[in-house]
């Protein structure tokens, strides 16, 4: 699967789920939550991000609480999260909602704010369309890829229940 988007860079390490979306906004609709996405880190981000843009982040993005902070990222229409490393809870949370959250060591120096990037989840590469350079991303296990490609956990379960019923 190939995705294209412009990079929003967050060089800070350890951006927790509380920073991605404070728990105080957890009762809002996904779109309303999106308006508060990463507001503590960059107050201008949510207002300016365009649908399909990528979040490019430093080490340990999405660490901390298991709270559904990915809802704000999806609510904002972000196409993918590519970070130096990502907290496990965030990866699975994102996958179950059909959002790519890919670890890619070196991405923070590879991509600059505003760069057009292409994420290729078949070759596990991120290409910088401005420079033509590419960098390897960490592959994810097959079932998580299937889940994201099908659009999330529900569609994955539907496919799997059908497979198991057919056996």
């Amino acid at each position: 699967m190939k995705l294209n988007g412009s990079a929003w860079t967050f060089t800070q390490e350890d951006i927790s789920t509380d920073l991605i979306r404070a728990k105080a906004w957890s009762h809002l609709s996904p779109k309303e939550q999106g308006a508060h996405c990463l507001e503590e880190v960059d107050p201008a981000f949510a207002a300016q991000a365009q649908p399909g843009d990528f979040i490019v982040a430093g080490k340990n993005f999405g660490c901390g609480s298991s709270t559904a902070a990915h809802v704000a990222v999806i609510g904002l229409g972000i196409g993918a999260v590519i970070a130096e490393s990502i907290g496990k809870l965030f990866i699975t949370n994102a996958a179950s909602a059909g959002l790519w959250a890919v670890s890619c060591p070196g991405i923070i120096t590879f991509a600059r704010a505003g760069d057009k990037l292409e994420l290729d989840t078949a070759a596990w590469q991120v290409r910088n369309l401005a420079t033509g350079a590419s960098i390897a991303a960490n592959p994810m296990p097959g079932f998580l890829c299937e889940m994201i490609e099908l659009g999330g956990e529900k569609n994955y379960l539907r496919a799997r229940l059908a497979r198991e019923a057919a056996v």
Binding site: D18, L19, K23, H27, P30, S66, T67, A94, K154, L157
Partner: protein, 498 residues
């Protein structure tokens, strides 16, 4: 001088002999070879408790999970638990493998979020799931923001309660306390089990030898299929040696470890605590240590169950369980040795839990609120420390001291022991048992610009209120600061005032 044969010793020695190249950050033979008269002797424990263990089905054996394994590299107890719970069960596993497992307990939250509840119900209906395969293993806790602090929260709570009850899921309602405490205290979780907890501080249960892990996605899979996937973790070992100085507590050790390892110190890995300090530590402090694994990125914490663990479980847990042990030739990802005798009271300063300083570096900082509670430090020993320190003093008039016991059992025991009366007399606010102010949704939310010193789990920016500053410290430091009106060293306050 004699060195009793003790499996813990052998396992460390075994690793050293068979793996001379394993990464060890520090090596202290003097501490390692200290006589260990009061250490846990598994064989003695088994023979002393033969009848009870047979009756209750307790198994403590190094061999567990080791049968039929050829010359494979050693496995950690956490890895053996995953292997045993895999569907189909496995004898040997390698770190990095994803295994599908069926958990022994799936602990969920009576949440705030009405939208999530509506989605889940609609999705399960859509998938044609009528009966939850795990329903007898699902336990719902009303611990986050309970009882409801707002109409919106009440609506969310109601939808979740309705969903759980419609499916015959047990709901443990408000006031019982935080899931991590209740699961252990009421004997719902037992050693050798996998407990998946919706709340991120699931590693807390590692203190009783449970593979306790949280989940991000995969919730619907657990509801619809009763299955989850776990990546077999690598394991980081933290060896805590020596004795604490007076006025320094387990929470200071936990904060110090967080400072040493950082927030990525065990990212995606298991985190084991061992060493002479752990062997002597009480269960309350062991839970505190394991709780903080989450803050270092650990998927699960672990302390090898010993006589202290099994005696603690005796009156609480009546179901059969198995204690897994780490193979002697298991290779840890990394090993950190920490001398706890060198630790001063610690404070994690805003806005990172690994930005840890000795209390002297921040003493004098004005505070508006002091908070004692959470799954990190809301246990009886924490409240006992607070009561002993505050007896005869009053909370500073400019400060609100809020005490939230972690569970009803803790609250009842603290009441019986007279601690709660002492706190009331000192003008503390004592709340019902729940997660309280820690997640910033209940009982002590802060205004912008306010400063809190807290025993809670995290000090992320905005967690306890937008624009507020959170300093994390031990119960003693929190109470001393509440008396002083600013961050203070508890060792400056005698335990018997005036």
């Amino acid at each position: 001088m004699c060195y009793p044969i003790c499996w813990a010793r052998l396992s460390y020695r075994g690793r050293i002999l068979t793996n001379p190249l394993r990464p060890v950050t520090k090596f202290q033979p003097a501490a390692r070879l200290r006589p260990c008269g009061n250490r846990f002797d598994r064989r003695k424990w088994n023979s002393d408790h033969q009848e009870e263990t047979a009756a209750r089905g307790v198994i403590t054996a190094r061999a567990l999970g080791r049968q039929k394994r050829g010359n494979m590299a050693g496995m950690h107890a956490l890895q053996k638990i995953v292997a045993a719970k895999a569907k189909p069960a496995r004898v040997e596993v390698v770190a990095g493998e994803f295994l599908e497992i069926e958990p022994d307990i799936f602990s969920v939250i009576v949440s705030f979020n009405a939208t999530e509840a509506r989605h889940l119900v609609a999705n399960l209906t859509d998938l044609g799931v009528k009966d939850l395969p795990l329903k007898h293993k699902i336990i719902a806790f009303s611990d986050h923001g309970s009882p409801a602090p707002s109409a919106a929260a009440a609506e969310g709570h109601k939808l979740w309660r309705d969903f759980y009850r419609a499916h015959g899921v047990q709901v443990i309602d408000g006031g019982a306390g935080i899931s991590h405490l209740v699961l252990a205290e009421r004997g719902m979780a037992a050693p050798g089990e996998i407990v998946i907890n919706q709340d991120s501080h699931a590693p807390t249960l590692g203190a009783i030898g449970v593979f306790g892990t949280s989940l991000g996605g995969g919730r619907m899979m657990l509801y619809a299929l009763g299955r989850y996937w776990i990546e077999v973790p690598k394991v980081v070992l933290v060896k805590l040696e020596g004795r604490l100085r007076p006025g320094v507590y387990g929470r200071d050790v936990a904060l110090h470890i967080n400072g040493v390892l950082g927030q990525q110190g065990a990212l995606g890995m298991g985190l084991e605590f061992a060493g002479s300090y752990v062997i002597e530590a009480s269960m309350d402090m062991r839970f505190t240590l394991c709780n903080m694994g989450t803050e270092m990125g650990a998927v699960s914490s672990y302390i090898q169950p010993d006589a202290t663990t099994l005696s603690w479980l005796q009156p609480r847990c009546s179901k059969p369980y198995s204690v897994f042990e780490t193979d002697r030739d298991f290779v840890y990802e990394s090993t950190h040795v920490i001398d706890v005798a060198a630790i001063e009271p610690q404070v994690a300063v805003p806005h990172a839990c690994d930005d840890v300083k000795p209390v002297s570096a921040v003493a004098g900082r004005r505070i508006d609120q002091a908070y004692l509670g959470s799954c990190a430090s809301g246990r009886l020993e924490d409240i006992a420390t607070a009561a002993a320190l505050i007896k005869g003093y009053k909370v500073h008039p400019d400060v609100r001291l809020i005490v939230t016991p972690g569970s009803r059992d803790v609250l009842m025991a603290a009441t019986k022991a007279g601690y709660i009366d002492i706190l009331h007399e000192a003008n503390a606010t004592v709340t019902n048992a729940n997660c309280g102010a820690c997640p910033g949704i209940h009982g002590g939310i802060l205004a912008p610009g306010e400063v809190v010193i807290s025993t809670s789990t995290r000090n992320n920016k905005g967690r306890m209120g937008k624009g507020a500053e959170i300093y994390l410290a031990s119960p003693a430091t929190v109470v001393a600061s509440a008396i002083a009106g600013c961050i203070a060293d508890a060792r400056d306050y005698s335990q018997e005032a005036g």
